[in-house]
């Protein structure tokens, strides 16, 4: 299984029945496809709706019904539509239970960097969109990312090198190699992928971490 697919599947286990959930773009969007049976979550699209459903089939799309990625979506029974200001009252006001966000880097203090890649000195792209509000307002912030960059460098760092989206905001970090809880004492390794040991994981991880006494194998939904 591909790393991205593993991560999206594992992240789906972070969602509990009845939760209000906001999924970022990319890998997080895929999480919705792997939510275990019996777990019903309410998905928010920050451009202004709750309880959206899958992409419509041709002919069922509507020019005025799209998500925060510009994609056509459908609305489920019980959906609601509201303006952007209200949408961020929901987010900043603490009414989102869980958000899952892609990350460029995370660190052992629970910080996440996912908005600013330098394009020129002091100039950044792509921008934070709703992510800074989500890490501020959501009760549980989960970062998903590949453990290492293409050159093998760790993206789970002692300290983020890119401008952060939020400082000390993460609850959980999920890569294809490991799942960490972020605690006041630092990262705690909770799950580890097949074929790795805490020791071999340290070789590919910049961040310090401790190992949970109940360390288990990387879990996936049935």
């Amino acid at each position: 299984m591909e790393a991205k697919d593993l991560i999206a599947r594992r992240a789906a286990l972070e969602l509990a029945d009845g939760e209000i959930v906001n999924l970022g773009f990319g890998m997080p969007t895929e999480v919705a496809n792997h939510v275990p049976a019996g777990v019903n979550v309410v998905l928010q699209s920050e451009n202004g709706c709750l309880m959206f459903g899958p992409t419509p089939v041709l002919g069922k799309q509507d020019a005025d019904i799209g998500n925060a990625g510009g994609q056509p979506i459908t609305l489920l029974p019980g959906a609601s539509i509201f303006d952007l200001a209200t949408s961020f009252c929901i987010i900043r006001g603490g009414h989102v239970d869980t958000t899952i966000l892609g990350a460029l880097e995370v660190d052992q203090e629970g910080s996440i960097a996912n908005w600013a890649m330098p394009v020129a000195p002091g100039k950044y792209s792509p921008g934070m969109g709703g992510a800074m509000d989500l890490v501020t307002g959501a009760h549980k912030v989960v970062a998903v990312l590949q453990h290492n960059d293409k050159k093998g460098g760790s993206k789970v760092l002692k300290k983020c090198s890119l401008p952060v989206t939020g400082k000390g905001v993460l609850k959980t970090i999920i890569t294809e190699k490991a799942v960490f809880d972020v605690t006041p004492q630092g990262l705690v390794l909770k799950e580890i992928a097949e074929g790795l040991t805490p020791e071999t994981l340290r070789d590919v991880t910049d961040a310090d971490f401790t190992v949970d006494p109940g360390l288990c194998r990387y879990r996936l939904p049935n």
Partner: protein, 251 residues
């Protein structure tokens, strides 16, 4: 008072160096006809306030080429953009690199509150969003009951271009679907708010509770694509940019 105007006449009043706000979110709820005219007029040095940049996909709607906000950047009409996200617009990122375009970022929730404050006559809002990040730079930080907040100041524009479903000649605007998004907030925060709508109806035809933007905020109403035309544009655009799969049998 009849606020219905010809779009050409409205755009005539838009000058180089103006500050404009655009409603919509990646083309959903975006005043496409207004943008097309702004592109054709070629007005320069704009300060553009939009929650995000252009739709992430190449599509040729305007006769000038392009779709949504992209042609404004391809034509170098924008000097500064105030937004939460610009990564969807390669033209904008290139202009940034070349120093032709300044981008001022705000977190999306702060961006919309700044505009709301501008329309509401507030002096600013305190938000926890952005504390501990680059967003703190140059901003006042207040501590209240032990928690730190950024002071975000109001934002207004000379022109706001919003998109709605129906309007009456008084300027009452009804919205449709998620096309709502930033439009009602932006409508409040400009000296001159222009509403592009699918349909212009008679006074009294819109249920008072369905009015999303009361007439008091709107200076001009212009005819945009009809709903049927807009549906056709989006169907074609979403299919051609790969957002909706065409069943094998239909290909």
């Amino acid at each position: 008072m009849n606020k219905v105007r010809q779009l050409d006449d409205v755009i005539e009043d838009l000058k180089d160096g103006a500050t404009i706000m655009l409603g919509g979110f990646l083309s959903v709820g975006t005043p496409l006809k207004c943008i097309e005219k702004i592109v054709k007029k070629g007005v320069k040095d704009l300060t553009l306030i939009s929650v995000v940049n252009t739709y992430p996909g190449k599509y040729d709607l305007y006769e000038t080429g392009g779709f949504d906000l992209a042609p404004l950047f391809a034509n170098n009409q924008v000097r500064k953009m105030i937004t939460a996200h610009t990564g969807t617009c390669a033209e904008a990122v290139q202009a940034m690199k070349e120093g032709k375009l300044e981008i001022e970022f705000f977190p999306m929730g702060s961006w919309i509150e700044k505009i709301r404050a501008g329309g509401a006559g507030l002096g600013g809002v305190l938000t926890p969003t952005g504390i501990g990040t680059l967003m703190e730079e140059g901003k006042k930080v207040l501590e209240i009951n032990g928690k730190r907040y950024l002071l975000e100041l109001p934002l207004r524009a000379e022109f706001a271009f919003i998109n709605g479903y129906r309007a009456d000649p008084l300027g009452n605007i009804e919205y449709r679907g998620i096309g709502l998004n930033t439009n009602p907030t932006i409508a409040m925060a400009a000296d001159y708010t222009v509403a592009e709508v699918n349909e212009i109806v008679g006074v009294g035809d819109i249920d008072p509770l369905r009015v999303g933007t009361p007439s008091v905020f709107v200076k001009a109403v212009v005819q945009g694509y009809t709903l049927a035309e807009r549906q056709d544009v989006f169907r074609d655009m979403w299919v051609k940019t790969g957002r909706i799969k065409v069943p094998a049998a239909a290909e």
